[in-house]
Symmetry: D2
Subunit: 402 residues, 4 copies
């Protein structure tokens, strides 16, 4: 695929935004799609350039560059952030390296996009948030990749909550159900090892739903009560390199050191009640991030497995004709949709990354602070820490630290 050499149109005249990406597995592929596509669909104020991709294995990173369309490669992330031809560092590595890379990239004067969860510990996240705050005074931006805020249906939900369509909030009910660990023979990939992943379903799935629930509610959790569980404690060791979600045949077994499932209830600052469940053992549920908000004036419901739909119950209508309505979030006046296809022609998972790029590029061009910020990411980390603390302390209600 070659690109317009002779282009003299408006796109060509835009200032480039040169991206250096660290990591090239699942998230690397998704982010690449975002960087490559956003400028083809949206009118962006700057032109994203897939400048450099970084990974430790030279031939693998070379293949990833070819595959995903990155111009150059590096095998050391320090070299990447040292390059003059990189304006923004996009961190797609496992959580244990987020803090070091992000802090160094900010110190090197780069903007930073960091995959979620922001870090594996509150301490790391605090360091990152401080670094982001300091960098902001120098005009650098930092954003954490909670991409599910950018599903058109969740963005519409946020808008409707902000418009007051739910009134006083009573309940927020969220699950994120997957099932890829049900099989006891699934091997011990990095996602099942605490030293790399920080936690299990909690940091992976729970981080998403804590951020999304707070974002949609427009308020934060005050405290939580939790239980966590590791159903299968011994798993086969993978035989060779793995991604987080798949692995070759295994030799020997090792110990799972993260949670398989985490359930927690809690209270929002307004007094609304919250219920959360993150699990990799919900047989038959593949990506069931399901969310419902009940307010005095209405309710909203969403399921990521049907991501083009938002369900809305308007309680101000007469009961005779009231009911949960399925809004097909594909209309031109829905968030992000005027750039896409006609009504009813739905989007998919990867579009959240295109929208993330769109919003981030606008923020960079306008100098506005993108959301979710590292401070938002830190606060999510504090919720997750409170969940773990409560689970260790017999589920006792544990306030979220400020």
């Amino acid at each position: 695929m070659e690109q317009p050499q002779q282009s003299a149109g408006p796109e060509a005249g835009k200032q480039p935004l040169r991206v250096g990406m660290v990591g090239y597995a699942f998230m690397g592929a998704a982010h690449s799609q975002g960087w490559r596509t956003a400028g083809r669909v949206f009118d962006l104020p700057r032109r994203p350039v897939l400048a450099v991709i970084c990974g430790r294995d030279p031939s693998a990173v070379r293949a990833a560059a070819d595959r995903h369309g990155w111009a150059a490669t590096e095998t050391d992330w320090r070299a990447l952030i040292a390059r003059d031809d990189v304006d923004l560092v996009d961190i797609c590595t496992p959580g244990d390296s987020h803090a070091e890379i992000a802090v160094a990239a900010l110190a090197a004067g780069k903007h930073v996009l960091c995959e979620k969860p922001l870090a594996n510990t509150v301490e790391e996240a605090e360091t990152m948030a401080r670094a982001a705050e300091a960098a902001h005074t120098r005009g650098q931006l930092a954003m954490v990749g909670f991409n599910y805020r950018r599903v058109p249906a969740t963005a519409l939900a946020r808008r409707m909550v902000a418009e007051g369509r739910l009134g006083t909030l009573r309940h927020v009910r969220v699950t994120y159900l997957q099932d890829w660990l049900v099989d006891r023979e699934f091997p011990l990939t990095w996602r099942l090892r605490r030293e790399l992943a920080g936690s299990g379903s909690l940091g992976d799935l729970g981080a998403h739903i804590v951020d999304l629930a707070q974002h949609l509610a427009g308020e934060r959790l005050a405290g939580v009560s939790a239980i966590t569980e590791t159903f299968v404690r011994q798993r086969p060791l993978p035989d060779g390199p793995t991604s987080g979600l798949s692995a070759p045949s295994a030799v020997g077994t090792g110990t799972v050191t993260v949670d398989d499932a985490a359930l927690f209830t809690g209270r929002f600052t307004s007094g609304a009640l919250a219920s959360f469940e993150a699990t990799r053992f919900a047989t038959g549920r593949k990506n069931a991030l399901r969310l419902e908000l009940n307010g005095e004036r209405g309710s909203l419901a969403f399921d990521l497995e049907r991501l083009n739909e938002l369900w809305f119950h308007d309680a101000t209508e007469p009961s005779t004709h009231a009911g949960f309505r399925r809004i097909l979030v594909t209309e031109p006046d829905h968030p992000y949709l005027n750039a896409w296809w006609p009504p009813g022609h739905g989007l998919g998972y990867e579009h959240t990354f295109v929208h993330q790029v769109r919003d981030l590029v606008h923020a960079v061009a306008e100098g506005s602070r993108p959301e979710p910020s590292f401070a938002d990411g830190l606060q999510v980390q504090r919720v997750l820490a409170a969940v773990e603390e409560s689970a260790e302390k017999n589920s006792v209600y544990t306030p979220i630290a400020d």
Copy 2:
């Protein structure tokens, strides 16, 4: 509506089972439908007779007798249980009177069917369970009316779990969502007063889902961690007699002394995780008892708002063709269904009471112990008590007493 006087058929030759019912509001109407219909649909070993109905207001109970087809009336439940022409006492009153009536009825030699929750306190429930145990040695039966065990779809679910189709259980997830208290002007009916109702959503809705979840799982909860909330603490006083669910115009306000919502997580004895929510503030949800069980070999899901359907995921199938299937539970080989209509001609809420009568009459005729027993009802009460205790103690994990 008159009945066969000259009947000389098999029905006429059956031994009657003469029922005396105490209470005639919502549950009274539902139970009447059950007693009146069961023998018309199922081949029962004894013939239910709607003998006596009892209520304090003479003209109201007279009208109820006419409406629902009861042969005689009483205005004092003590008189009802003293009658020789009553074999079984059906208790449909609010929870505060269950214990006294049930214990007296058992002492008077009657079989007893008691609406759920069994009682308002563990102490009362213990007394009742002891009385039932003693009465059983005299050939009397006692049953508690957890009618949702007798939806064909839940009965099928139970059968499938017992057959091992789910394998080792990992998750049980249940909500019972209603919304009739969202309106702050809804008056303070007896269901909102602790001295009559015992608790709010917990005893009303929570009792149902605790029983149903344990019944379907085939095992009991080991402990729970809970939060409860009363969102609206002052409500208008009703002006005149009310049923639990409706009321005339109000004068003044009073204090709601029960919970509006109760959330709890827990562990089953096998180690499966549980999540429960009972609320009357889930705007737009009318009767959403939703249940999902995830096991190592499969999953089941059910929604009372679509009670003719059971969803089943068979994880032993190849992933290519696997998926949650909607079993329309209307086939002749489904529980209770061979007596009803052709496939696809669904049943409704009230049929659970017909099935309850069917099973109870069989138990009486065969001398077998009907389920759920008073001991089962007591155990549910202990779970509810643990929920309340945990909620009072900062959500700390609270074991269920044996």
Copy 3:
């Protein structure tokens, strides 16, 4: 089940409406449930009495009387209509006998309720409609049992169309899908023999959807273009008595003389387009009467397999928040619902027969003409005849006779 002997309440004082029913198979059971229950739930102006049931086999009809609660039996329908103690004749036999019984019953001064389809031929239906018209001048009423008009959701749909919520109608799309003939070994019951059933899926299922579609649209079909098919032409003969829907083991084979499926398109008098499909070969669909109306201002959709729900799209709303909403038709202000259970506690198939009795008893007491009338039944018959004519004539568009 005995009834109040000493009753002196309002129910007892009501004038009885003594019913004589002919036939006691599937429809007989459903109608019995309707007659037995309606007065227990609704405030009826007259008191239905299950007076006499009639069938040719003495012991079978005796058993049916016992089972369903009829006071007396007859084995000759002529004897039944000759009785002084019968006010209304309810005809639940196969279609080939409807005309003779109905005309004789009307001649004998009885009110008549006749199961659908009204007759097997237009000629018979014309005779019946004329007899009904003549009888009406003598104060007798006649009604045809298109019970699906009396699902609360379809009754609500009719009300909404009449209120103008759909505006100018553009499309009416209806299917009635069953699958009980998919198995080639299913035997040749009376429903598969033209001389008894008149037609196959067309008269059985097609009659329902033609009536319902016209009723909801509030207008009639102008013409149709049709194809019909008999997929399996030879079937095993049943060995012994059968109902229409089941049969014992078979000996030999016979020829199916009715259609297995009928598809037709058409135009309503307003110019709206119509699409109909009736089949017994839609594998996996058990009772899928699915209906959608699209109008300039809104749309409605219904599925009999989820009969407590009506889906409504209000096109006058801004597209941002518009969507098909699921109205759970269980609110007190929904048709028939104030007599039943609290919101969300759904009804089933048989309730349509209870509602049919309710409306018919009101009509009798008030002297108003019940709907659907025999004239309505005749018009449906004319549509079915046009379908058959079109199917025979290479699908050519065939106007409906007036």
Copy 4:
């Protein structure tokens, strides 16, 4: 967005496939996305190059080239097909120009991808099919863009039908419902003018469902009976350039010369019955291509508004546990899916174009004939012509010409 200059990986070594695209509206954007993305996701045997884009308005085509990433522009399609640096011509114009461009492109030695419908008339389509056949002897390929064959769910459906999972087919039921013409003020865009669009909903939506139904069934329609309608015959003239689906404010009115809706029934060659509906007046339905196939052994159902799901009923299972199952078509062993995201992370509308490119590039590299061929497109055109003929002849059943 720049591309790898220094790339020496496998991608760089692949032979390019240089594409020249004619047209840049809705379909142009969708096809661009396909050409740009396919090689980033799939391992393609040749490397697609977005070489030249062509449109009549120089500045508009320049802007489209910049936006969508095309290297060069032309304003005359004849110039485009004359270029040496174009291997394949992708035709995304309205139907009236398909034949001329395609025939010329084939004559010029190019491979051709042509948007559906293949042409506006059978005659044009015949010319095109002949040209494609002749070109094939010279090693050139021609394909028509029925992209809905390449939704993973429909591709899986095809595979399951081919495996015999449905057995003998009885019914094929398809609708394609949109609602963008419900508003009487929607202007007269080119899609509503016969001289440009050929037909209305029939050619636009009907062509899709005829192709898809025949493809999934694995057999062809033998004949059809049809009605068509234009509900709104006068519409405002658009004021300025329009795309087919939107337009600026209008001056004056003009006559709609195409159908708004087309309904047809028919027979497949095997005897299965078919029902089709294509309309732009189904209020509230945005892109509801709904399809159901019923066979003797099973059924399949699909809805384009939920394109990641395929519903399957396996009639060989015991009725106790049978039901329509929702297969979430996102597993690695589902068609096209091993190149995309983990299970449950759904795709969208545009991915069909990526898959189309994938399959076409493989066909070109392997010299195999891609499907659907121009002959397939011609056959669809013959079905549409039979629909129009039947509609003109009072819906008489009209065989499809061979």
